[in-house]
Symmetry: C2
Subunit: 574 residues, 2 copies
């Protein structure tokens, strides 16, 4: 028999471990894996030629499906094209399962085709890299394959989740004989790792509760985090009933009426806003003002909730890592303190002063944002910041919003998402690269029935336009392309905007618009370059017409910069 | 002063070490390097947004200019997008100088933007990776920067040449003060490494000469190699006067009437072709038949000429590495044996039998190729193999031909390039990836006044279409796109062509044609989909019209496969 049973069994084990989707990039060396994945009845396999894009599509799928997704490529530099997405998956803790076909070791660096050093090719950006031997005949090899695949999948799905790499050397023949039947052995082993429940000891919990009760200036801040309604509810109650302000950014999916305009209002004399106790959850924060604020006005204590043991001290004030789920932590915290209050006759209600100071600033900023756009709309020059405002307000309830790096996510963070709309927000903030924002949104749209909106600038869009070069673009995909013909962010940030190199080496002016790209990809294309009819176009754009759509917002980068400067300066003058 | 003098001096040292060109990808973290490279009067800097493409463009430039070319990117996943080209440069021994900006070490994996593990990120695919400290104030740090840049450049330019990586952590501020003057210190140190001349001892040389004189069945085979007229001349004399057959493939630039149709004629009973002594130069061979032949009929002795000490035993018969230049080796070999013959009254002329056997096969194959196309042209169905034949015959003298992976380079290898035309042939056969073939050709076209022709299939073309997304496309660029709407190679090779997965997972059928891509990139577009007027179109296409051009050859993949099968089967039947 030509095809190797242990290789076929990889697909069977993967499926037993929860894999339902695979993205394959075509190649010859990975043919046995391709056949195994394509024929396995439990796995839906797609073929995407550009590995860079394929890996980001898989990332978007895994993010949405909340399950491991496989990417599989041939030997050689193909694997390196996965690397940007693998790094993003590592820092965003997404279980990407990377299968790279390889030549047997003895053929590495021997002037034979498609052969590079693939062992440990992703460095520290995978949880672990597994290497299988090229000999599949000895029973010990079969055992190694089985346990490695089990080990890799268990690891990928253990908190903190993350990508794993399995390098699979394959010898010819790669293809089954004609009419050879491919069978998956139901006896392929699934070695489970039971998921532990993270709990705290009574002593530690008592200390935590006491500290919370004793602290009058507590701030809860949420970095990048998944949408979780139960968590939102309990945080809302804590904010409301305990007077503890909760801060969340556009990508925190905090889902309550929280502090969200901090990027605008922080930066002056913020001493009154300094927390004694800072409790954070989630991953990275976008707002540079917020990070600078907390590094300047350091909290006395900073607790961060995370499963892993990698010590991340973003604000240079970390005192304690608490390895439990945010939902468990805050639910128990609320219940226990609520009961304590009840026992004490609710007499010791927390002073709302600290919360009030934060919300005074917040409300002032919100009012300013509203008034700024009221004044601007229809009478002022057409600019992308205004379009984003209108676009974000018009987003349908329960839709998804993907924010590309790097100006789009920043703009959106000023404007924010209305909590009650229950919009899920995503962004590749693990590495903050522009290299896969479109592909990630495509992966998301493939995996959900919700409308998926991507807000993206022209550099990030064209960089990753191969995201659209496949046969899987779904009708729920909606791309809003902010085309200012170059890297607009470099005009907005102070340093480069005054340099002689601005246009040529920072902004890197580019002339493309997306019309032809859309024709090639069979995407409905709409262009907007003035305020007239903007609202109507936006609402038409959101509607389903059976095809993916792209709305190109063609603006002048000088006007955008001027408006954004006015926006920032105007607030300071208030 | 805001900008750091040691960072500015990197540009000065680079220029002193022979760098005249840099490709910068825009970013903020790399701003100090961008400013240094852009303002240095001796360095021409270009800005290309997609790092994957930028690195391959630089590779094409370095290959042509025969000097080190710098690529420079910001921190984060940007560096990983360089990796495919870095691996290609490593195996093709091209001195790519990779400068990656980084956050200072203390900010790695701390949930701060654009930060990944960049140390040693290219693994074994650079000659060395250098890491600079983030402190530029201590004199020892300045010394470290100077010597590291010197070390890196010396290493990149030492045989075997190759890519080097310098990781450069930078702290804010990244930008000069307004009106701050940027000065390059002429005292920045250039620590030279004198280039050694590789010579052999008298004893070793005597042994070599004796062995050559004593062997009656010698084959000289040339893998991927640069065009070198002096070498071509001496090889031609050795073949002619010593009756030693020389074998060279399309990418060997062997420049003489050598054995070139081996991919077609090897594979039957080849026992009479077995050499006693095999002498090889250059890098990889394309022809699988040739590799299989030599692994089956192993030479008693196999000498490979290479500078480095990495042991590459492609044919599993290597007996001796000879670390001298091919030109020196063969020139001296010819001179010494010629003198020996003269001294001996030219009586001991080598028996031409072995050469004759090789050339009989060669001539039969050549005749077959000619007759196959004679029969086919104009009357037969339109197919890409025929177009390649016409195209390659029509190539102007002294032009460049870039062959993309993977079907294009294989097709072209059957047809070959006429020696007398002095056409330089390139292909990314270091890793044989499809990921940068277009960009490499763009880099070449930027660096030469010769017409640069690229022969590329549709998968490789669209994969790397960002090669065309920059402001530097020169008028001497000519792309011949073989569009069979999928990975045609998978229909041609035996294994997958019979699988149910062929179309969906191997060929990966795609519907794009290049017209819109060309409109976006301002490239003159011509399409051919039948034999009529093909010759006229090809010759018009080769002419200069002040703009880059693309000729799209739209064929049916079923017809192509059929013709190619006929071609191969027909020869066996002869």
């Amino acid at each position: 028999m030509a095809l190797l049973q242990p290789i076929l069994n990889i697909a069977e084990i993967l499926h037993k471990k929860g894999v339902n989707h695979a993205l394959i990039s075509p190649g010859s060396r990975n043919a046995p894996l391709t056949i195994a994945l394509a024929r396995h009845p439990g796995i839906q396999a797609k073929s995407v030629s550009d590995e860079r894009s394929a890996a980001f599509i898989a990332l978007g799928m895994s993010q949405n499906l909340k399950e491991p997704v496989v990417i599989c490529c041939t030997s050689g530099s193909a694997a390196y094209n996965y690397a940007p997405a693998v790094a993003e998956a590592f820092f965003q803790e997404i279980p990407l399962i990377v299968l790279t076909a390889d030549r047997p070791k003895e053929w590495i660096h021997q002037h034979d085709g498609q052969t590079i050093y693939q062992t440990d090719i992703f460095g520290k950006h995978v949880k672990q890299s597994f290497e299988i031997g090229a000999d599949y005949s000895h029973p010990d090899s079969v055992w190694q394959i089985e346990r490695s695949v089990n080990h890799a999948l268990n690891l990928a799905m253990t908190e903190p989740k993350g990508p794993v790499h399995i390098n699979i050397p394959l010898r010819e023949p790669f293809y089954p004989l004609e009419n050879e039947e491919v069978r998956f052995s139901p006896r392929a082993r699934d070695i489970k790792r039971i998921k532990p429940v993270f709990q705290l000891s009574k002593e530690d919990w008592t200390e935590i509760i006491e500290k919370v009760i004793d602290s009058s200036r507590i701030l809860i801040a949420v970095g990048q985090e998944e949408l979780n309604s139960a968590l939102s509810e309990v945080l809302a109650k804590i904010q409301e009933e305990f007077n503890i302000p909760v801060l969340g950014e556009a990508i925190s999916n905090v889902g309550l009426d929280s502090i969200s305009k901090h990027d605008l209002f922080l930066g002056g004399d913020d001493s009154l806003l300094k927390p004694d106790l800072l409790i954070t959850i989630g991953k990275s924060f976008i707002s540079k003002s917020f990070k600078t604020f907390l590094r300047k006005y350091k909290a006395e204590e900073h607790w961060h909730l995370q499963y892993g043991d990698h010590l991340i001290d973003t604000f240079q004030s970390l005192t304690q890592i608490i390895p439990v789920s945010p939902l468990d932590f805050f639910s128990k915290l609320f219940a226990d303190i609520d009961y304590d209050n009840f026992r004490n006759g609710d007499m010791e209600e927390r002073d709302p002063e600290f919360k009030n100071i934060w919300f005074e600033r917040e409300l002032k900023a919100r009012k300013y944002v509203e008034s700024f756009f009221q004044a601007d709309f229809k009478t002022e020059s057409f600019n992308e910041f205004l379009v984003i405002k209108q676009f974000m307000e018009g987003l349908p309830d329960n839709s998804q919003l993907h924010l590309a790096n790097s100006l789009s996510v920043r703009y959106a963070n000023y404007i924010g998402v209305e909590a009650k709309k229950k919009i899920e927000v995503f962004a590749n903030r693990g590495t903050s690269g522009i290299d896969g924002c479109v592909s990630t949104a495509v992966g998301a749209a493939i995996s959900t029935k919700k409308p998926v909106f991507l807000l993206v600038g022209d550099v990030a869009f064209f960089y990753d336009r191969n995201a659209l070069w496949n046969r899987y673009l779904p009708e729920n995909l909606r791309i809003v392309l902010l085309n200012n013909h170059g890297g607009g962010i470099f005009r907005v940030i102070d340093g480069p905007s005054k340099l002689q190199e601005l246009e040529d080496y920072f902004e890197t002016v580019q002339s493309y618009n997306a019309e032809k790209t859309c024709q090639d990809a069979d995407i409905e294309y709409v262009k907007v370059n003035n305020n007239e009819g903007l609202m109507a176009k936006l609402s038409l754009f959101a509607e389903n017409s059976g095809k993916p759509k792209l709305l190109e917002v063609d603006t002048d980068s000088l006007v955008n910069t001027e408006i954004f400067k006015q926006f920032k300066a105007g607030f300071k003058a208030v």
